[in-house]
Symmetry: C2
Subunit: 220 residues, 2 copies
Amino acid sequence: MSAVTSAAGGTEDVVDLVRTAIHQGEFAPNQRLVEADLSVQFGASRAAVRTALVQLAAEGLVERVQNRGARVRAVSLDEAIEICEVRMVVEGLCAAKAAERATEDDLALLREITADMRRAVEGGDVFAYSELNRRLHAAVRATGGQRVADGVLERLRGQNVRHQFRLALLPGRASVSLPQHLEIVDAICARDPERAEAAMRAHLASVIETLPQVGSSPVR
Amino acid sequence: MSAVTSAAGGTEDVVDLVRTAIHQGEFAPNQRLVEADLSVQFGASRAAVRTALVQLAAEGLVERVQNRGARVRAVSLDEAIEICEVRMVVEGLCAAKAAERATEDDLALLREITADMRRAVEGGDVFAYSELNRRLHAAVRATGGQRVADGVLERLRGQNVRHQFRLALLPGRASVSLPQHLEIVDAICARDPERAEAAMRAHLASVIETLPQVGSSPVR
DNA sequence: GGCGCAAGTATTGTTGACAATCTTGGTGGC
DNA sequence: GCCACCAAGATTGTCAACAATACTTGCGCC
């Protein structure tokens, strides 16, 4: 398929390379990850690849079974829904904290992102909107300042990028989620934690409802 | 300090051994974990120890810095509070789901645990109550059937056992939390998701309020 | 023709040695 | 006396080879 991606000896590099390869779909779900192959593909030692796979397994991106090697972990639709349910409550917490702790600079950033979102929807640019979506959620999390919650969400996001990406491509999805995003930012700007949490939960509840329409990715 | 704990060649075994050693306080926070030392202590190869440390680092139990080795990660009081805040919302979700999905057997188990809790409080057995507390929360999670949420909570619990343990030893703590536990089970038995979630959140909010009293563990 | 069986291949798990890096203690110059 | 510098020790990172295990293919037997 793809030739040697790059030469990176360090094991940390290999973790990043494999992770982004999975995220970008270069490695399909359930695809076997043979240590020797990856080691030549990335120009790293087998030990480095091995260490990277152990770490990625702990992150939940790959599955490793004794003496049978590693493969890209496939998250089913059911699991994607569960992930979003957890996201719903944890990001709700972040939104509430954000409403409590936001500085004026934080609010300015949030408003700026929503303004860009409006433009992206008007222009029909789904890709830009998807990126703005990511940035908005990240900004809310950063404003909330909950490092533990942030870590949990980052981990979950990593497992869900595929479903998330397919969701963004649904026609008309942006026009549905835009007002929800506006309401979240509004509530935070009003420094109303309960309303912010409710808005965030409503938004992700909507995501959960929509998820079945994208269907589970063709597994295998 | 402690002599050779046991002989276990497999790398999975080493993960468990180190994990329980940290949980039981045999390895103190910030204590260095030298690969060679652990390898003789556990009778495993250095590679096995190394792999175990990588995995435990991903679990958040140890810290690893390039070329400087691993040490037991110390969770500050602030972080313990953040962990409980995340637990609050995620266990709230589990409680709500438990109220929706519980079978009669599930409810019987929950009632049985609360009955034992009552007895433990009457008898003043804090150790038994602490164990029942763990079992009750585990039972609620199991009843909720959310595997993703369960994984997140298990991970967070692992990082927090020390604070959790000290909390349980606070005098009078059991009498405060017992009615909260009863309310949680009551709500689940009434199959009222919203009330169950609110009860669980109230319980953990109480834990968060109490945490500062136990103070942060002496971090050297 | 289908099924058990055995050899061969592919892949992972483990080991030991070596190289790279950090830490520690001492030494000399200022 | 204090700081930069250097060397020795300790510790981690890397590598290649070996052992153990799972998978595959072909064969004989029923």
